[in-house]
């Protein structure tokens, strides 16, 4: 479960908060779109939820842990239960795709045999197993995105967060990815996907977290799409 109560976030050196008095709850095993125009605070919220930063004020509980008061070791263990697909992929350029994808399992202390089996299973599902020995810098944007998705999915995280996970994928791959997210939700994973892809949102209507100017603007996909359109206009 994810629970935010009056959470604000003001990055150092920034005059005003990028998130203001945000209160929301996402029960365990549910799917949410994260919608809103550029600059609405979607990335900031994802940074909070991936524990890259802590709230400036307010209460944030993640998987039963109060993040605001948690120690470094508690946060470390919590991070291992979260999968994240960043918009910029964040793959380690010096490592192979396989080593990047295997990292979460290795950090959990899984055996090398299990790690290999799991990693190749998810890489094959995403059609990038043949790239396992390549370095990310030699891959296309779509291939890197699939490698980042594989790293997030491996080990079946309890919370999966994705920032524009389909923007470099073809439609068929995007649909398959959505189906996978739904399978994870069915298995009890909480999934939050930030996107600008209106077609995708229409195709899979679900509850939404709609942000506008750092505050919660609505809970319906139509709210997010409308906000996105007004931003583009």
């Amino acid at each position: 479960m994810i629970r935010l109560l009056n959470v604000s976030m003001m990055p150092p050196g920034v005059g005003q908060p990028v998130l203001r008095n945000l209160t929301l709850t996402v029960p365990q095993g549910e799917f949410r779109w994260l919608l809103g125009p550029s600059g609405a605070g979607k990335s900031s919220l994802l940074r909070l939820l991936t524990l890259e930063t802590r709230p400036s004020s307010g209460q944030m509980d993640l998987l039963g842990v109060s993040v605001s008061q948690a120690s470094r070791s508690t946060l470390r263990n919590l991070r291992r239960r979260i999968g994240f697909v960043p918009q910029d992929y964040r793959l380690i350029g010096e490592w192979t795709v396989f080593d990047n994808v295997a990292l979460p399992l290795r950090l959990r202390g899984a055996s090398e045999r299990d790690t290999r089996r799991e990693a190749f299973s998810v890489l094959e599902w995403l059609d990038v197993a043949h790239l396992a020995d390549k370095r990310p810098g030699t891959l296309s944007g779509g291939e890197q995105q699939r490698a980042a998705i594989a790293r997030a999915l491996i080990g079946r995280p309890e919370v999966l967060l994705a920032d524009e996970p389909t923007n470099a994928l073809e439609d068929a791959q995007a649909r398959r990815l959505l189906a996978t997210f739904q399978e994870l939700v069915d298995m009890g994973t909480t999934v939050i996907v930030a996107t600008h892809n209106e077609a995708l949102v229409r195709e899979a209507p679900a509850s939404s977290i709609v942000l506008q100017d750092g505050t919660l603007a609505g809970a319906d996909p139509q709210d997010g799409i409308a906000a996105h359109r007004s931003d583009r206009a």
Binding site: E52, R80, E94
Partner: protein, 302 residues
Amino acid sequence: MSAPVSPGLRSGSLPLLVALMTLLAGLSIAGLTGVQTLAEGWAGAARNATTIEIPSDTPQLEDRTRALIQTLHKTPDVTTVRELSPPQVQTLLAPWLGQVTDSGHLPGLSLPVVLIVAHTGTPDLGKVVHEALPEAVVEEDRRWGDRLNGLGSSLVACAWLAVSLIAAIVVLSVGMTVRRSVMAQRKAVEIVHFLGAGDVTISSRIAGRAALLSLAGSLAGLLFLSPVITLLARKLAPFSHEAGPSSLPAATWQTMLANWWNTLHVLPRLLLEELGALPLIAACLGWLTAQTVVLVWLRRLP
């Protein structure tokens, strides 16, 4: 190769720096050991010995010398009185006058008669000798021993200071290399951190590599040091009380190696142990420094 769970260390010129520092530290330690050995040897010998020089132009030199020797034998606390033969006097003075190859006389210079008196306690030999043979000169070797001790202590302190400075430079070099490496791989370090890698997991990988590179650099430094130490040992051999290495003509590789091995064999055991410990010390310093730098850097991440 082990599976990566954290970025490693970009070494840069770390092994070369450590090699050079090992070379300097080794030279300092060798100098320190040499000074200690010489000072202890000379001071020990000087404490219980007195040298008496009788000028060669003393009237009735032989008879009066014999009489003085008999008087000294009867003096309490005197254990032995030894008259140096002319070749022994030449050997004694060789470091200052060079080797003399003729029958025992330097051109224009007559060698004195030299008596070495060994004793226990502190007999007043000056008075005894002055009464029996006023022309003789008594060298109170103890005085030189004290001076040598003082000189030795000062040099030892300088050598330790040099070794400490070198250790500080190694720590700084490793620290800067590690920090540069972490900054260059900042993105990768942050990725593994946000995927749940522990601070110690990240720092240990970098520290392990720093230790390995420091060890390798230090071993290379020792390799460079070996011929330098051998050369110095040969140069210092005439001043040492220990038996010096037997020198073979360095015409072939085999004889050069044999010479090197002979010299290495007569080096003080303590020196060899201290030099042998340098790579381990360098590795420990590298590991500790890298751990500290990385752990401190990681504290800035949530």
